[in-house]
């Protein structure tokens, strides 16, 4: 059983603003029956068409999807459209006293529906997202085929919520939660987003590392970035030796003798090149 907060339970049992607004100014729809959740959001503006005076919703989905929709409608009332667009999925979750991580995608759905509604009202294209196959047109490349999610959408959620693992991305967006075929691609996108953030933070190329510093950094990256991802797949690795830029690793558990360990070695190398130094070579040894 999910450990829902009292506020989630209360909003699920007594949802606010269920229904529809017949003369709504904006309607946003995301999700589908196949996805397992969907939200239709109605927004009514004041006479000057500035502030949201009413919001209503219809939701197909689990308890936290209904509670998130209810929270969203309460939160946006009284806001201008620009203010409403600032509402993040984390704020929706916070309003409810938090959501289990596995359910964060419900809060993301709320935010998406709001964006879709406002974009439609303003006559612009909805931002690149995926939830809801109807909305994905040329907005980036589809990564998760099962739920129709684009790379643009995933990047946005990964950056906004500082996600580090593919599992977290699944919890926040559902991507990879069905067939799992896109999980390697999701890992690449995470690496890309994290790389961009690192670059933005440092904004200058890393200074030349001393050998000792480099060894320490390699060990750190292996511990903090690489091994947790391997554990998630039931695998593991051991650092065997570091000689200058040559890093020798041995694969353990599910990774050992796994046909894709060549791919895993490449993944380790990519990580180290990105986070330590671009001249690193990773070699798999039997250890």
């Amino acid at each position: 059983m999910w450990d829902y907060t009292d506020k989630v339970k209360e909003h699920f049992l007594n949802p606010r603003n269920v229904g529809e607004i017949e003369d709504a100014d904006a309607v946003g729809e995301v999700g589908s029956l196949a996805c397992g959740d969907a939200l239709k959001l109605f927004i009514k503006l004041d006479e000057k068409k500035e502030r949201i005076v009413d919001a209503k919703f219809q939701t197909f989905g689990c308890g936290s999807a209904i509670a998130s929709s209810s929270a969203l409608t309460e939160m946006v009332k009284g806001k201008t459209l620009d203010e409403a667009l600032q509402v993040t999925n984390q704020e929706i979750a916070d309003f409810l006293g938090g959501l289990p991580e596995e359910k964060m995608h419900c809060s993301v759905m709320g935010q998406e529906a709001l964006e879709a509604a406002i974009a439609k009202y303003r006559g612009v294209d909805a931002p690149a997202h995926g939830h809801g196959h109807d909305h994905v047109e040329n907005e980036g490349e589809i990564v998760c085929k099962c739920f129709g999610l684009t790379d643009g959408f995933l990047k946005k959620v990964i950056a906004a919520n500082k996600l580090h693992t593919a599992e977290q991305v699944t919890h926040f967006t559902k991507a990879g939660g069905a067939c799992g075929g896109c999980i390697p691609k999701i890992k690449e996108i995470i690496a890309e987003v994290m790389g961009e953030e690192k670059k933005a933070a440092a904004s200058k190329p890393a200074a030349k590392l001393t050998n000792l510093k480099k060894m320490q950094l390699i060990q750190e990256v292996l511990e903090n970035e690489v091994r947790p991802q391997l554990w998630a797949d039931g695998g593991d690795l051991e650092l065997v030796d570091i000689d200058g830029s040559n890093v020798q690793v041995a694969f353990r558990k599910a990774c050992a003798g796994c046909a894709s360990s060549g791919y895993t070695a490449k993944f380790v190398e990519q990580k180290l090149r990105e986070l330590v130094a671009p001249d690193i070579n990773v070699q798999e040894v039997q250890g």
Binding site: L33, D37, A38, F60, G61, C62, A178, A254, G257, A259
Partner: protein
């Protein structure tokens, strides 16, 4: 609030008589059955009695009964053993609708170079014997097919399958965790080599299981160490739970007729009335041979978790084969394998009864569920479309 417990395929209440039977074996009769003194010896006698009681329920010999720590251990041991017995054979056959205790292990084996065939099921959850026959070859070490499905209650023609498999020289294992105690089995007239049982599905405690190993079937232990269970499962016996398991099997035999008449009648009534009162439902596996206690009902345009939470508000405990409750996002692998349409796969609820279920409890569900579904449909954009059309 008094619970109305209709989730007996997840776990069951320990029968008070079972609990009384096991109670002395913690603080008073705590001896080790392997000991040479009288104090351990008297526990050994009770363990032997438990073994005989389990054997009686299965129509087996007591020496064919191996006690384990759970249904999952029984399944894992059976599969591993078969592969060790035939080291040169590299093919396993199972089905797409097995419990994860079997399916996860089989899928992991593909990473170790095994070929795994997962048999399909039709829209009612039934196997195709021709597909099984076609999949069998000289490389097949083991076929593992469940006796009855935990989500839908659909019963596979296990004896027919076992005969086909034996004719090809492979071993046959069945996960009978959901079947034992609910429908009669007779190992004396069977071709099954290995069969798994779990205590907590038949009113014994959690954490005890049985692996039936037919006389003459080659077997390699999973846990090695001491000589317990005649070398087939090392580790000091969980005496109290084993004794409980024996009692639970004895009681299951006494109540078998009740399960198949009174419990079945309650299930059938629940199914009939809910189908009549709630528009757009379907019974998952309704066209197949099913366990007498299980009802999996799919309701269009609503999502399972909301239904369960609202039922829970009324004290009613059920489960769903749907996305959000289990933490995974797709409808259950069982419903997916059956091709249940997406419009209702997410809204599937399983009610599983037991001999402790009463008619009054069934009445409560019949009264409470239809308004819950109506309420959620009114909240759902698809449900509204459907209600407006009507």
């Amino acid at each position: 609030m008094k619970e109305i417990y209709l989730d007996n395929n997840a776990t069951t209440k320990v029968d008070e008589l079972v609990f009384e039977e096991m109670r002395p074996y913690f603080c008073e009769l705590y001896g080790n059955p392997s000991s040479m003194h009288f104090f351990g010896g008297q526990v050994q006698k009770k363990v032997d009695q438990a073994r005989a009681r389990v054997a009686a329920l299965l129509g087996a010999h007591p020496d064919e009964i191996v006690f384990t720590a759970c249904g999952t251990e029984s399944d894992n041991s059976a599969i591993r053993s078969a592969l060790e017995v035939f080291p040169e054979k590299r093919h396993i056959i199972t089905s797409r609708v097995e419990h994860p205790a079997v399916l996860t292990q089989c899928r992991n084996l593909t990473k170790r170079g095994y070929r795994v065939t997962e048999l399909n099921v039709d829209g009612e959850g039934r196997l195709d014997m021709a597909e099984l026959e076609a999949a069998l070859d000289d490389d097949t070490a083991l076929v593992s097919l469940m006796y009855a499905n935990n989500e839908t209650g659909v019963i596979f023609p296990i004896e027919e399958a076992a005969k086909l498999v034996k004719a090809k020289g492979a071993l046959f294992h069945t996960d009978a965790v959901q079947a034992v105690g609910k429908i009669p089995l007779d190992m004396a007239a069977s071709s099954i080599d290995l069969l798994s049982i779990s205590g907590h599905k038949l009113h014994a405690p959690k954490g005890v299981g049985v692996l039936y190993v037919r006389r003459g079937t080659p077997f390699r232990p999973f846990l090695v160490g001491g000589h317990q269970e005649r070398g087939r499962r090392a580790g000091t016996e969980n005496t109290a739970s084993i004794i409980a398991m024996g009692k639970a099997c004895e009681l299951a035999m006494e109540h078998m007729a009740d399960e198949n008449t009174r419990v079945r009648a309650m299930r059938d009534r629940l199914e009939r009335e809910l189908s009549a009162l709630i528009p757009n439902t379907r019974i998952n596996g309704g066209g197949a041979d099913r366990l007498p206690n299980t009802l999996s009902i799919a309701m269009e345009f609503v999502e399972g978790e909301g239904i369960l939470l609202l039922l829970s508000e009324k004290g009613i405990c059920a489960s769903s084969g749907s996305a959000c409750t289990s933490g995974s996002l797709e409808p259950s692998h069982v419903l997916r394998a059956m091709g249940v349409p997406f419009t209702c796969a997410h809204g599937s609820i399983r009610f599983s009864l037991s001999r402790f279920t009463t008619d009054a409890e069934i009445d409560t569900v019949i009264k409470e569920l239809p308004p819950i579904i109506h309420r959620l449909r009114e909240m759902s954009p698809f449900g509204r479309e459907f209600l407006n059309k009507k």
